[in-house]
Structures are given as C-alpha cells and as structure tokens.
Symmetry: C2
Subunit: 213 residues, 2 copies
C-alpha cells in the first residue's frame, strides 16, 4: 500500500527514494508533483495579490488552485501505485495456458490504468496552466517570477505526463483505447502549447519592462 | 534559521508552506527543487541501466547526478534564506540619513545575493541537463520517460532561476554587476536551449519508434 506514503516523506527522503534503483516512484509521480508545485505557487500569488472583498477573482483562483493541488498531490502516490500494478501483473505465473491468458489480460488492464492516469494528471496540470495565465496577467507584479515558475512547472507536468502515456501505450494491444488516448493527448497538448507560448511571451514582456533585461 | 528546514518538511507540508501567503519559499526554491528532482531521476535511470564493471560511464553519471542533487537540495533552503535577507534589509530603520544609507547598502547587498543565487542554481541545473542527454541517449529504454521528465525538470529549473535573477536585478543599481549577471545568464541560456532542443528531439524520436505515437 503506497497510498499517501510519498507525500508523507520528507522532501529529502522523497528525492532519495526517487534516486534509488527502484523504478517507482519515477517520472510519472514527478510530473504530478510538478503540477502540485505549480498549483501551490498560483495559490501563493493569488494570496499575495489580495483576496479581500474587492478581489473576488483572486479569491476564486486561490480556491481552484488549492483544489487542483489536492488532486495532484493524490496523483503523486496514485501514479506510483498504477505503475506497481503493472509490475505485479508481469510477475504473475505463466506456466499453464490459462495462467498465460490471465497474466496477459492483467498486464493489459494494468497498462491501461498506467496510461490513463497521466492523462488525468495532464488535464489537471492544464487547468493549473489556465490559472497561471491569470496570475501572470493580473497578479501582484512582485510575484511575477513565482507566477512564471508556476507556468514552467505546470507545462512540464503536462509534457512529462505525456511521456508516461506514450511509454505505457507501447504494450497496449487495444487499438480503440490507443486511439482514444492519442486523441485526448492531442487535445490537451494543443491547448497547453498555445497557452504556454502566450504565458512565456507575457512573462518576458513584463520582465523586460521591469528590468530592461 | 531556515537552513535545511524546507528539505526536512514532508512533501505535503512543503507544498502547503509554498501555497501560504508568505512570499518565501517561492519560485526560487521551486526552481532548485526542479533541478534536484531532475538529478534524482537521472541517478535512477543510471542505476537502472546497470552500474556493474562493464558500465563505468553509467556509474560516473550516477555519482555526478548524486552530487548535483545534494548541491541543489541545499539551494532549496538557501534560496529562501537569500530572499529573507532582502526582506530583512527592507525592514531596517530609515529615520536618519545614516540609517537610510545603511539600509540602501544592505538592500543592494541582499539583492546581489538573491540574484547571484539563482545563477548558481541555473548552472547546476545545466550540468544536470548535460547528464539528461546521456541517459536519454544511452540509458535503459524502459526508463526513457523518466529520463525525458528529468530533462523537463532541469530545463524548467534553469528558466525559472533566470526569472528570479531578472526580478532581483530590478532593484540593483550597480551596472557592472547587472552586466556580469546578464552575460552569465546569456551563456547558460544559450547552452541550455541548444541542449534541451536536442534532448526533446531525441526523446520524441525514440518514443515514436517505440510506440508509433
């Protein structure tokens, strides 16, 4: 039962576990964590921008960012759990024909879970990226670099999740599932790339204005 | 004394602290953490590629990644400490002329520290990115997505650190310092952009080959 274990480790301990020879946790959990870090930074910038009565928008962003952070926090552990199911399925016995069939089915089922999971992470990171645009555009200018870093983390979370979708799809034999996953990937990446480019342009413009950098 | 405090928090606690109204920790510490996560993933991929006698290269990468992870771990806390010194300097008394002068000098000194610090983080993340290219190119293919995620994190660490250099330079009045910081930024960003583009092309090519994605 890995549930919540990673999130309860110290940051230092998590990094040591990540660096260890065990393939889990790996890039999937790090992608979810990148999204969590982005959501946390968005929430901070929204708070620093003021959430009093005159600033309903920022209060809304703070709440949404907090919710997305909670969801992504859970995914840090769930991604590792989904990957562990794949490894378990590969370890099932394969002596008899019946065992071989059961094992193959279990592997397919586990791989689908491991491919679906990062698609959810990517979708949530995309929602964080939407909030990043708002805090970059109208957030406290003193926290512009924080909003900018949030956008880098959210976009890395999306791209990283897609690497994990791809590598899990490698073993999936169901063409309908693969097609649907690909369509979902294309939709998310298309939205994310547009948004990310817009955010980076705006951050650069604002930084140049501030520091003639 | 914030030294080592952030790294000793639980991952969950770190995120909650990040999301809080306090401006520190912020994007600077997250950029260093992104570099640490990248270094940890590189170390894992090197370990999964095998570090027996026949694979001296991977053993070297594992060692270098471990060292860079340690350095970047320290920067997670040090960046927040550098930022706190800036805030402390702004809070110095400014009643008399002497106090005003002392305060202005302390602010300049603290801002230089806060601008120099992310330049070190960016340089270390660049060294991690160099290792990412190696593990993407010749690492265990089953861990390709992990190596890919490492490259996203390392590059985000570099870019994020540069946002922090820029925002701290805003208040720095020493043109020589600003010029040197800008030259250092340009050198690191130029190397990083080339390397990053090469890595992404290679990851995409390998993923397409693996999954016809």
């Amino acid at each position: 039962m890995t549930w919540q274990m990673l999130m309860e480790m110290t940051v230092k301990g998590f990094l040591a576990e990540l660096a260890s020879k065990s393939p889990a946790p790996g890039g999937g959990s790090v992608s979810a964590l990148a999204g969590s870090l982005a959501a946390a930074l968005v929430a901070m910038v929204a708070r620093l921008t003021g959430t009093e009565g005159d600033n309903e928008g920022m209060r809304g962003i703070q709440g949404q960012a907090g919710d997305l952070m909670e969801k992504l926090n859970r995914h840090v552990d769930e991604d590792t759990a989904a990957f562990s199911l794949v490894m378990q399925a590969y370890r099932l016995p394969k002596q008899t024909e019946a065992e071989k069939e059961q094992r193959a089915a279990a592997i397919q089922e586990a791989l689908k879970g491991a491919a679906n999971h990062p698609l959810m992470v990517a979708e949530e990171c995309l929602q964080v990226l939407v909030l990043c645009m708002e805090v970059v555009a109208i957030g406290n200018p003193n926290a512009l670099s924080d909003a900018g870093v949030a956008s880098l983390m959210a976009y890395s979370g999306i791209t990283g999740a897609m690497f994990n979708v791809a590598i899990n799809l490698e073993g999936i034999k169901d063409p309908v599932f693969a097609q649907q996953a690909k369509a979902e990937r294309d939709r998310i990446m298309s939205e994310a790339s547009h948004l990310y480019a817009g955010i980076q342009t705006l951050v650069q413009k604002k930084l140049i204005y501030m520091v003639e950098w």
